[in-house]
Symmetry: C2
Subunit: 152 residues, 2 copies
């Protein structure tokens, strides 16, 4: 049962059962989104992805791609995979998803606060480090040119 043979996959013109099902195997999926195979399997193991199977071979659909995009966005903004899963698990294609959206908003507000705190910490660190570097440069300068100075 050949669905997408390697090589043909890139120029995929297969219009099988459903129009444009566009199934890809793990290798192509990984390349397409810049992640490793291990990562995709890991996400699946954590319940974040759920690709079809052709025998034992994973086949990722359009929906898997959408989910992966969300996961990667979530990771980028600093959510844990656990958070991402919680939010995605609330998705219901038949409903208004009000609950999901509210949860996402709630988590996002908290995450935004965390990010802002982190940014503040990093700026503090940058300032402290810059000060230290200035002091070190000063000491080095004094060592290379030990002229008379009032400093102890």
């Amino acid at each position: 049962m050949k669905l997408v043979s390697p090589g043909e996959a890139a120029a995929n013109t297969n219009m099988s059962d459903k129009a444009g099902e566009d199934l890809v195997r793990i290798g192509e999926m990984a390349k397409k989104y810049g992640v490793t195979l291990r990562t995709l399997r890991f996400y699946e193991d954590k319940g974040l992805l759920n690709p079809q199977r052709d025998g034992s071979t994973r086949l990722y659909t359009r929906r898997d791609k959408a989910r992966l995009k969300l996961i990667l966005l979530g990771r980028k903004v600093g959510f844990s995979l656990r958070d991402v899963k919680q939010m995605m698990d609330l998705y219901d294609p038949t409903g208004s998803n009000t609950k999901q959206l509210r949860l996402a908003l709630d988590k996002s507000e908290k995450q935004l606060a965390r990010l802002q705190k982190q940014r503040a910490l990093i700026e503090e660190a940058i300032n402290e480090l810059s000060n230290s570097m200035a002091a070190v440069r000063q000491m080095l300068a004094e060592r290379s040119a030990p002229q008379a100075s009032a400093a102890g």
Copy 2:
């Protein structure tokens, strides 16, 4: 052999052998610098601190305090303990410490670059997250007031 009894420690007026040796035990040291006992022992285990001993009891000197301050500063600006140790290990009380200072400066420059990159990433994250939140709020608004709209 009593050196610093608890309670007396705070109002320490003991001028023993060397003037103002100012030895403190681990509990007071921890409180003074806002770290746990575990942390102090851990730092010692990693070769970052080297307190004296009264039998089996650790006694921290003025020098240990100076070193701990440096460790905490290092951690604050994002150095690993390994980095901190490398830098401190080069300290030689009899020399000019040019090598140490150069190493510190070198590491600091790299760390500064990392911090700046991190800051950039965090700001990207903040922006992306803010955008997502706006979109979610939009969707929620549409759900609570589903008037006619052109949006799909």
